[in-house]
Point group: C2
Chain length 328, copies 2
DNA sequence: TTGTACGCGTTATCAG
DNA sequence: CTGATAACGCGTACAA
């Protein structure tokens, strides 16, 4: 910045003001500065700015997986309004273990973000206490089944699964299999399983027809495995409830391959409403989760809080929607 | 840090050393510091560290869309090795316009990253010059059709499309339609189109059967539209070449709906090898792009360069692979 | 409208 | 092994 100031023949202070639109700087001075900056390829050092102003203009987000497309939608919807409000999103991969999460949280907090968005909540004790000590607004997303640290935007995974299970039961299904997500204890999926079990137990149905988390592969292939395994457990199976659309789509395709009539013989449902769910005949019945809306809401909560507003609603329930298609 | 030093009864300098494992610090002092830090929830301020040490330990990446799952794979593969090497990934959404890109580049450069990864290259002049002036290692990815600013990791979109088109021609197809990606001039897709056209012209075939970028919707639905529009242009159409798998899958499903035999009547191909491409019968013939490998390679290039090595290969061609399935 | 002194929290350097 | 001091590049507060 000193260089720019010299090149433009003004003091650093004037350059600083020109960049921040603070105080008054004459048009002529401003253009001289802009020219010098463009010529020298100068970009203000945000670290110095942060140190001096004690504002980082950074919002951090932790995310379990950068390649999960549903989280991608949330991220995108989060990033856009934040940028417009003058914040930069700092992303950290927090993996699926408490240890990785702690490392991720420590790293991002080192950048002194003014707010934190946790995508797919799942804290260890240590991370939780570290976040709390940071004293910044926090929005937890994608899971409303636990009381939040601060604010939250999402939906109840348990309620979503329960409602879908109730729907299946309501259509007369009695021998319903469950395909769990293949990851060690992720709370979102634990809640889905719980919702499913609650609904079935309330109806007095069997809850032992499952492909448990610790068994089998992931992705679409898990759906294939599920059809085989569940039919083995119970040949008269009449529905397969999948914890996520990927498994549901795999199961639909496997049934098609085996000549099993969906939904006449077996109903199949998923959770997520992935784009592809509507495409594959007969269409996957699923739960729409509004991933984008979760991101937008999280951004709004953080921005409003930082703007000094104390939003009435600290917990935004975005809800979900049962999407009925041909599969069940 | 001053607080921690006081709490542990040492000087700030000792605390700093303890955190960086620099110089020698006695075990006892070290544990006292760790305890104080844990109790107070202290995390070192990276902005101050950067200002003082002139090292940010940040690698920046610009990406056109956070919700694009193929880029997600690259990101994930990029993030992991960087983290292991002690770098934090700073992500900026650069959109699909030169203007947005310039803003994104300026923002991330403000954080003084030690390296930059450009995902899906596409620069305006201004951004290019700004990047060059930053004087840091740069890896451009996903597009090897232009000479890189510095380093590159990816493949030739043009060659990939040409090879796929040649394959189609080799199987006897003569009236081949092209479904372009619906975005204003993205170079990757311009190159794909060019590769397609080159192959067809070399074989003396028509290149006017197209759904151009500026027409129609996106995603799977674009495939549906394509079937309709292309058959209208040429009822004897015998192949549909899609710029991306999403369109290809949409086209396959549309043919299925209309009772059009794929591949007997019409062959369909995509580019990308999305997970779902192998699932939907008869399986989409496509080009596998090794999105993860691109990320890993980019990370390696940056890390090696920062470690002082001047890698021999400044341009890593990850290549691609024609995946032949039932659709063509 | 523009300039000056000082401090932000850390690290490099040099001493002990 | 530990400590003191001076930067790092900018913003705040005040002055001109």
């Amino acid at each position: 910045m000193t260089d720019i100031a010299a090149a433009a023949g003004v003091s650093v202070m004037t350059v600083s003001r020109a960049y921040r639109n603070a105080g008054r700087v004459s048009e002529e001075t401003r253009t001289r500065i802009a020219e010098a900056a463009a010529r020298l390829g100068y970009v203000p050092n945000l670290a110095a700015a942060q140190l001096s102003s004690r504002r980082s203009r950074v919002i951090a987000a932790t995310i379990p997986s950068l390649s999960h497309s549903q989280f991608g939608l949330t991220l995108q919807a989060l990033s856009d309004p934040l940028r417009e409000a003058g914040y930069q999103l700092l992303l950290a991969d927090c993996g699926y273990s408490a240890e990785e999460e702690l490392r991720a949280v420590a790293t991002v907090l080192g950048h002194r973000p003014e707010g934190l968005v946790v995508i797919g909540v799942d804290h260890g004790e240590a991370a939780q206490s570290m976040i709390r000590q940071a004293g910044i607004p926090v929005v937890e997303t994608w899971d409303l089944d636990q009381p939040p640290l601060d604010m939250a935007a999402g939906f109840s995974n348990r309620a979503a699964a329960r409602r879908m299970a109730e729907y299946l039961i309501g259509t007369g299904r009695r021998r319903i299999g469950y395909v769990d997500f293949p990851a060690p204890v992720v709370r979102r999926f634990a809640e889905r399983r719980r919702g499913f079990v609650e609904a079935l137990e309330a109806a007095g149905l069997r809850v032992d027809l499952t492909l448990p988390a610790h068994e089998g592969v992931g992705g679409y292939a898990r759906g294939h495995q599920a059809v085989e395994k569940l039919l083995q457990l119970e040949p008269r199976l009449d529905a397969i409830f999948c914890a996520t659309d990927a498994h549901g789509i795999g199961a639909m395709l496997e049934c098609q391959r085996r000549g099993i009539d969906v939904p006449a013989q077996i109903a199949i449902t998923g959770i997520g409403d992935f784009d592809i769910a509507a495409e594959i005949p007969p269409g996957l019945t699923t739960v729409r989760l509004h991933a984008g809306e979760i991101g937008r809401s999280a951004a709004k909560l953080i921005i409003d809080r930082l703007a000094g507003a104390m939003p009435q609603e600290q917990v935004l329930d975005i809800g979900f929607e049962i999407i009925r298609r041909g599969s069940g």
